[in-house]
């Protein structure tokens, strides 16, 4: 391996990710790839949702592109994106020094704790669609929420036998703090002249149009029902992860419908409950079958 020497100055976006990979790998995490199904948050990755179940120890870290259709701002807002990256570390069981590890990981990417005010602010987490909840914090750096920290208590309606600690870094925000920039599109992506905006700005504009104006809602509604039925059928067949893919799809379809503004307040709860039912069924299938 050609030795990798960090460039001087703040780390680039991609260097931050690589640094976190090395950091968490050193903690025994498997460094996984993002899941290749559109989803709203890294928690939906089966390496979190499914592996958080059951008693087997598990440590994993990965990046997850997170699609939040409603958060699109046509590439005009310096802080809001409908597509961004989460860095997720999951440690089961939660180790005793997990908070210290998080802080050390900040050290690693260049946030000096003696100069920056890092805080753990209450944030109880709940995912109604995943039938999951946990307790934890937002982690603030100088008033900016840069991570979320959750001790999982329940996932897919099943109490966690061996509670995991889940750390989710908002990579863009973290990078903005590290690089001291005000506009996400101005982030130095690779330390060699490419900015975040060079890569993603056009997509933000186009997906905002897609999410708010263009996506075919009739189709999305049909596909939601399809994913629901397919998930149920696959659960019956006992294939947990393929079934869970359909659950993820249903969730994302719901998010798209929501962004398109065609779900009434009354219908919302129903959609969420339907996705939760899928998540629960998948969790049962995962636990039920022998690994």
């Amino acid at each position: 391996m050609s030795p990798h020497t960090s460039p001087p100055g703040p780390k680039s976006f991609q260097d931050i990710i690589l640094t976190l990979h090395h950091f968490w790998a050193a903690q025994g995490c498997v460094i996984l790839q993002p899941y290749d199904v559109e989803m709203g948050a890294g928690t939906f990755h089966p390496a979190t949702t499914l592996r958080a179940l059951g008693p087997e120890p598990w440590r994993a870290a990965y990046v997850q592109p997170s699609r939040r259709p409603s958060d699109g701002r046509y590439g005009e807002n310096p802080n809001r994106l409908q597509h961004y990256y989460q860095y997720q570390a999951l440690l089961k069981p939660s180790p005793a020094d997990i908070q210290a590890l998080l802080l050390e990981s900040y050290d690693a990417i260049g946030i000096d704790r003696t100069l920056h005010d890092i805080r753990f602010v209450e944030d109880d987490w709940e995912s109604p669609t995943l039938g999951a909840w946990g307790l934890g914090w937002e982690v603030w750096c100088d008033g900016m929420e840069v991570s979320q920290f959750t001790y999982f208590q329940q996932v897919g309606g099943i109490a966690c036998m061996s509670p995991s600690a889940e750390i989710t870094y908002g990579l863009e925000r973290l990078a903005m703090v590290v690089q001291g920039v005000e506009n996400v599109y101005a982030l130095d992506f690779n330390g060699a002249g490419v900015t975040y905006g060079d890569i993603f700005r056009r997509a933000e504009r186009d997906y905002s149009r897609h999410n708010f104006e263009l996506a075919n809602t009739d189709m999305l509604i049909r596909h939601f029902a399809d994913a629901e039925a397919e998930c149920a059928a696959l659960v019956v067949a006992g294939v947990a992860q393929p079934a869970y893919d359909q659950c993820i799809k249903a969730s994302h379809l719901f998010n798209l419908l929501d962004a398109r503004g065609v779900i009434s307040v009354a219908e919302r709860a129903g959609y969420i409950a339907r996705v939760r039912d899928l998540a629960k069924a998948c969790a049962q299938a995962w636990i039920g079958a022998d690994g």
């Binding site: 809001r80 069981p93 005010d117 753990f120 934890g136 900016m144 009434s264």
Partner: protein, 667 residues
């Protein structure tokens, strides 16, 4: 006596839970040590620790434990069972009063054993609002992972065990300024060493440092803190070593509505707003760091300013976007928002509110302009639900509608929309001004009427649609604005709903420590749906009852009522007719004449709601009543005279009943 000291050191405890947790800890210790003469209790709480110190006896005195066994005539089997249960042998028993008894001497209990036993048990059931498991998945739960326990009795470690943790005398200080652990030997040692390790253990000292902080910094800036006790305590729960810092707000954001700016600052960031010498919002915010940084906080300030800039940029964007579209244009979007499945859309709702608001203004005697304004405000009052700003900050609903409406429809309409959700709670103020009042009333009345119509009424503790709050709002708006309105027509004559509102009024009075028996008395004296009048009467009666005359009258009333109840049971009822002509006793005649006089005199006053005059008139009854009861034997053997006396008493009751049913008044 010895000092007991306990520190429960955990990962960060939610600020909002800390004070209750300290109280719970105090309660637990007081109970567990109840036999150890606990005293000098002091609690500490903060982001990572909950602690208590108190003086207790080192031992609980001994005594005798006595258990009654079966009857001495019981079969052997029953006796064997008793012995087994207590692990006793036959020769330990005595018989007494036909029963077997087991009496055992209890040796004194060491405080340390109580700590390891009862206290540990009680702490394991600590009443956190939410608690959690962690690590290897033990069943022990805590608000966040418990990492250390210091447990000292008279300076010695008591190895209390909670879940995975065993107590020691080791604790930690500030994460950054003083990493690592240290030993403590007592509460004061702990507090002193913590200070040396950059942790202010006492919340009051932290609050002081945050809220006042010596003030020199604020004085230098010439600014004043906008007082917010909740925020103060919340922030004190977030820091161990509070450091006040000040950041600039970019001028471009100073023309945003202050509510927007300050909500964003407070809710999202826990920043304090500041005012300049003239009381105007200052382009500076205060915040509290948990760090004494070597650059005097320069990096922290830069970071916080950046965050606020980002937040306010977002708000500014919404503000600019929203102002491009008049609220009217948003009405069609309300058609897509279901208010409630059985009630309909928000669009239908605002149509009703508009009608009702206009109706109320006309009932209030206002014509033309005001009615139109009320209608407009009613129609637009929910339109901000589909604005960008309210989508982002739901807390600003109404407020934003107010701003947006005032731009195109003037201040009256704007204010009406802004305040139409008020009062949002018992401590919130009520709308003022006819238009605002009409809309706020209409909004709440509509909610009440519609939910009652579909049967979604509150049950027990369940009130998902906050109808109780709405009812209270109706009451307060009416009363505090002195609105003279017949309420029932506004409720579509829904008697159940009227009763519900009256019940809320009763609860309100009780909560205010006022006599709700008087309310019942007044209401029983004649159905009235003009709340202002009802309360005038309540106030008059209440006030009157507090006078000696009033108390006397009440006593007389009760006496009369007592007599009548007994005699009516024999041959009643006795009608409250005036007995004309001379009566054998002049005291009876005087009472009758006084009643006639009072009734005549108070008739107009009552109608004109001059309740003080009414009561003053009744006050005059005192002497004649005293004389009557002193001299007249009501239950005289002569049937005619007895009837006349009883009719006179009934008339006395009747006269009073114009103002209140005194039988409902406790006394």
């Amino acid at each position: 006596m010895a000092e007991f000291f306990l520190e429960l050191f955990s990962e960060e405890i939610p600020a909002r839970m800390q004070r209750d947790a300290a109280d719970a800890l105090r309660d637990i210790c007081s109970w567990v040590f109840r036999n150890l003469s606990p005293q000098d209790v002091k609690t500490f709480y903060g982001p990572r620790r909950l602690a208590i110190s108190l003086e207790i006896a080192m031992t609980k005195p001994g005594g005798v434990a006595e258990s009654r066994g079966p009857r001495d005539s019981a079969p052997e089997a029953a006796l064997a069972g008793f012995l087994g249960k207590h692990a006793a042998s036959r020769h330990e028993l005595i018989t007494e009063g036909g029963y077997f008894w087991l009496r055992r001497d209890l040796s004194p209990t060491r405080a340390a054993d109580i700590i390891m036993g009862s206290l540990a048990d009680a702490l394991a059931k600590f009443p956190w609002p939410k608690s959690m498991r962690w690590g290897q998945g033990e069943n022990f739960t805590w608000v966040r992972p418990l990492r250390r326990i210091v447990c000292l009795l008279d300076g010695q470690v008591v190895p209390l065990k909670l879940g995975p943790i065993t107590a020691s005398d080791i604790t930690e200080g500030h994460r950054v300024h003083a990493p690592g652990t240290f030993k403590v030997s007592s509460a004061s040692d702990w507090e002193k060493k913590l200070l040396a390790h950059y942790v202010i253990a006492d919340v009051a000292r932290r609050v002081g440092k945050i809220g006042d902080g010596g003030r020199t910094d604020l004085d230098e800036l010439g600014l004043e803190l906008v007082q917010d006790a909740n925020l103060l305590y919340e922030v004190a729960g977030l820091v161990e070593w509070p450091v006040r810092l000040f950041g600039k707000i970019d001028p471009e954001f100073m023309d945003l509505p202050p509510e927007v700016r300050e909500l964003s600052m407070k809710i999202n960031q826990k920043y304090f707003a500041l005012r300049d010498a003239s009381g105007n919002p200052a382009p500076t915010f205060m915040f509290v760091a948990n760090l004494q940084a070597p650059d005097a906080g320069a990096a922290i300030i830069t970071g916080n300013e950046r965050v606020l800039r980002a937040r306010l940029s977002d708000a500014r964007h919404f503000w600019d976007q929203d102002r491009k579209t008049p609220l009217e244009k948003l009405l069609p979007k309300l058609e897509k928002i279901t208010f409630h499945g059985k009630i309909g859309t928000q669009r239908e709702r605002v149509e009703r509110i508009a009608n009702k608001a206009e109706n109320i203004t006309s009932l209030l005697g206002l014509m033309g302009e005001a009615g139109r304004d009320a209608r407009t405000a009613g129609l637009l009052c929910k339109a901000d639900l589909v604005t960008h700003m309210v989508g982002e900050f739901p807390e600003l609903q109404g407020v934003m509608g107010g701003y947006y409406a005032s731009m195109t429809h003037g201040k009256l309409v704007g204010d009406a929309i802004k305040t139409h959700y008020q009062p949002k709670g018992p401590s919130d103020s009520v709308p003022k001004g006819n238009v605002a009042v009409s809309v706020a009333l209409a909004d709440k009345l509509d909610t009440l009427i519609e939910f009652f119509k579909i049967g979604e009424t509150p049950t027990g503790s369940g009130d998902p649609f906050a109808l109780r709050r709405a009812a209270l709002g109706v009451i307060r708006i009416i009363l505090e604005n002195d609105l003279r309105l017949a309420l029932k027509p506004l409720l579509d004559h829904d008697e159940k709903l009227f009763a519900f509102i009256m019940d809320r009024l009763r609860v309100k009075l009780r909560a205010e420590g006022r006599r709700f028996d008087v309310l019942d008395a007044v209401l029983s004296a004649g159905a009235d749906d003009d709340l202002v009048r009802v309360m005038k009467r309540v106030d008059a009666v209440t006030e009157f009852l507090q006078t000696e005359d009033g108390a006397n009258l009440l006593a007389a009333y009760k006496r009369a009522a007592n007599i009548l109840r007994i005699e009516d049971a024999k041959d009643g009822p006795h009608k409250p007719e005036f007995v004309l002509g001379p009566l054998p006793m002049k005291e009876a005649e005087e009472l009758r004449d006084m009643l006639v006089f009072i009734e005549r005199e108070t008739y107009d006053n009552f109608t004109e709601e001059k309740y003080a005059l009414v009561m003053a008139a009744f006050a005059k009854l005192r002497t004649v009543l005293d004389a009557f009861f002193e001299r007249v034997t009501v239950n005289t053997p002569e049937p005619d005279l007895r009837r006349k006396n009883l009719q006179l008493l009934a008339r006395f009751q009747y006269s009073l009943s114009r103002i209140a049913d005194f039988s409902k008044i406790e006394g």
